[in-house]
Subunit: 134 residues, 2 copies
Amino acid sequence: MKVSESEARERGEATSREAACPYRLVLEHVTSRWGVLVLMELLERSYRFGELRRAVARHGRTASEKMLTQTLQTLERDGLVHRDAKPVIPPRVDYSLTDLGREAAEQVRGLARWSKDRMDQVTRAREAYDEARG
Amino acid sequence: MKVSESEARERGEATSREAACPYRLVLEHVTSRWGVLVLMELLERSYRFGELRRAVARHGRTASEKMLTQTLQTLERDGLVHRDAKPVIPPRVDYSLTDLGREAAEQVRGLARWSKDRMDQVTRAREAYDEARG
DNA sequence: CAGTATCCGTGTTGATACTG
DNA sequence: CAGTATCAACACGGATACTG
């Protein structure tokens, strides 16, 4: 599998440009567009690939297969997601959280809850801001 | 100021495509590349524009003026950041967190701390993953 | 079903130059 | 100093076709 430099870099092979703060990479994986949704869904229960894709779609937009695959692989590599591929035909692959992943997901859930809880304050702030300007 | 459609959308004017889950937008602002760094720096103390730019640079890469401006405006509009422009020459603008922003920043700090604390577990997971494959 | 491979449009980012 | 304006690069994400 040939990947672009950025795709490789994204996976953790930091280049000289961003040598500092390796933990920021984990943070970005966890807070990425699809990472957030995947972690939160898996906090409920384990999912099969297509099933997870549909579940995520309900809480945001639907991820392309490519993006979901990429997200899951990144999270698996970081040790947050467990991938269980059953050797059956047709293929069946179950995804679940590791203990580490559960911790991460709970942090994310905290942030998501905060966002929901404060949503109207934010909305009011936006209205005030927009009214004050154009 | 002419902004692209996506830049406008990013600011909260959801289009039909992503009508669901407006809170996800706040979440994305808060967890955005520069949003995370800005919130964490402002948790320490208030900063002037250029000062903040240098402070952020220490914890990641340096944000371009454009990106820092955009990030600050978005967070200000969401009611997380307070902007205090003094009418002096040369201009002096101080940025600080609102109460709402402080809450958000604390959530983000939680996630960042978790990332730091678990960094070596993640690193080991990656090594195991990479060794198992190519 | 669960992916992989490839191509391609465009949005996000960042350098640079400029203004009040 | 604190921005705004403009433009180019490139990474991201999606559509599609294919495989085991």
